[in-house]
């Protein structure tokens, strides 16, 4: 299990034990985390699982691939250097304890 803390748009913090290999989007919606939609189901096709990765941990998260970078252009909230799509980040020991902030809006 990888422990991930989601900070909902309200500021509420939800910590979830995520099964290794699950995406942070899948774990968030399966556990009722607010502030993430994941409309396309995890195929990197909708930009509604936008999150901000804790800047101090950016190096621990594998870099975004071309498809994700293209889709990040379509996020509804402000795109920042630490913007990622949660469906493209998979739980692993390297990101244990990661905190991700969820934006005000996904659509």
């Amino acid at each position: 299990m990888t422990t991930i803390t989601y900070v909902e748009p309200s500021g509420n913090r939800v910590t979830v034990d995520v099964t290794e290999g699950w995406s942070l989007m899948q774990a968030a919606i399966a556990n009722g985390v607010e502030g993430i939609t994941g409309e396309c189901g995890g195929s990197c096709a909708c930009a509604t699982c936008h999150c901000y990765v804790d800047e101090a941990r950016m190096a621990d998260v594998p870099a975004a691939a071309e498809g994700e970078l293209g889709m990040l252009a379509h996020v509804a909230a402000e795109r920042r250097p630490n913007s990622r799509l949660a469906c493209q980040i998979k739980a692993s020991a390297a990101i244990d304890g990661l905190v991700v902030h969820l934006p005000e809006t996904q659509e």
Partner: protein, 387 residues
């Protein structure tokens, strides 16, 4: 001795009691009849769907695969090839790019529903959902409005399987071949006279400087037509069935059409038409005390995961206030359905318009004639009576 045969008419008619036994007693079950493992719990299906390196789609994703299709379509390739192929197509199906289709879809829905005005009883499938879905898909793909009924009939036939031989029969293969020839005709036409549409772009697209393989162009186009018609039509029919059977939910949706959005999501969870897809293991995996071997096929029973009480309380209750996030009605992971946005949009608009003409209806048949298919589940005919 428990058995689970996805080809049996009993499973076509009502897979849910079988799924419950699978989840509770045999969460990693070898089906002798289907010659594959069956995963039925929500968490196991999500895990497998995320792990394409282990659960490969490259040997086909339909439970009963069509010949020579695997490896040439979005659903039957793995990353990175899959991602590049999908990158060529998916922009056309993104929500924000569907706005121009909203009014044409509404026109199609209105016209199709109004043509039935005054009827007291009819088959929802032949009279509404088939006509609507074919016209919507033709509009979305820019296909010429001809042969509509034949295209629809072939799409529905090619996804079926023979319950006795547990394979595709000659009639299913013939429909598949017909659809390939139809797709080939459309592709040739677009190449000769390109338009600013999906098939024109796709049929001339390149990946890393290489033209797409002819088989990829042909079978991906064939699959888009099949999925667009059969999957959308099948789901719409299941949605109509749910609203016909659940009068309270229907009345709420008629009074407040915004609720259709929630009702659609609950239907995708409750009894989605895409019940089961398959993967092929790339390495040995031990799960719930069973060891599945590299090369074995594995069925991801989405329809069972959606009824898993470990994820959804009271899963056998159709509750449009549930808002079932994370359901598997469109699959999940890299192979989640390409058409999620157009399916949601189309079904919502279809029922907004259908309910203006027919706000009150119920199901006539006690027993429904279910389509023989190891992958999809929807009735072949759905008679509804208007109140």
């Amino acid at each position: 001795m428990f058995s689970f045969d996805p080809y049996s008419p009993a499973v076509d008619a009502d897979p849910f009691p079988f799924y419950k036994t699978l989840r509770d007693e045999y969460p990693c079950f070898w089906s002798k009849e289907a010659q594959m493992w069956i995963l039925s719990r929500y968490a196991d299906i999500v895990s497998a769907g995320q792990d394409w390196q282990t659960y490969s789609s490259a040997k086909g994703n339909l439970m009963t695969e069509l010949p020579n299709r695997a490896g040439a379509t979005l659903g039957t390739t793995d990353p990175p090839r899959h991602d590049r192929l999908r990158g060529l197509i998916q922009h056309a199906f993104m929500k924000r790019n569907l706005e121009s289709l909203t009014e044409p879809i509404r026109d199609i829905a209105r016209t199709t529903a109004q043509a039935l005005a005054g009827e007291k009883q009819f088959d929802f499938i032949s009279e509404f959902s088939s006509k609507f879905t074919v016209r919507v898909l033709f509009a979305a793909l820019g296909l010429p409005m001809e042969n509509e009924q034949t295209v629809r009939d072939k799409a529905v036939m090619m996804v079926q399987s023979d319950p006795h031989t547990r394979a595709k029969g000659p009639e299913h293969i013939a429909a598949y071949n017909w659809m390939q020839e139809y797709a080939a005709g459309v592709i040739a036409e677009r190449r000769a006279r390109p338009l600013n549409d999906l098939i024109s772009h796709f049929s001339m697209a390149e990946i890393d400087g290489d033209r797409l393989d002819e088989r990829e162009v042909l079978l991906t186009t064939t699959t888009l037509i099949m999925a667009g018609i059969e999957s959308l039509g099948g789901f719409m029919t299941m949605f109509a069935l749910n609203l016909a059977d659940h009068a309270d939910a229907r009345r709420q949706c008629v009074a407040n059409p915004v609720l259709l959005v929630d009702a659609v999501e609950e239907s995708l969870r409750f009894n989605t038409s895409a019940q089961r897809f398959r993967r092929c293991l790339q390495k040995d995996v031990t799960l719930h005390g069973q060891t599945m071997r590299a090369g074995d096929f594995v069925c991801l029973a989405y329809g069972s995961g959606n009824r898993d009480e470990r994820q959804y309380p009271n899963p056998d209750v159709y509750d449009i206030t549930r808002k079932p996030r994370g359901h598997l009605g469109f699959g999940g992971g890299v192979h989640a359905c390409l058409g999620t946005a157009i399916a949601r949009l189309s079904v919502k608009i279809a029922f907004e318009e259908f309910h203006k003409v027919f706000p009150d209806y119920h199901r006539v048949q006690e027993q429904l004639p279910w389509m023989p298919s190891s992958t999809f589940r929807s009735p072949l005919r759905l008679e509804i009576a208007i109140h």
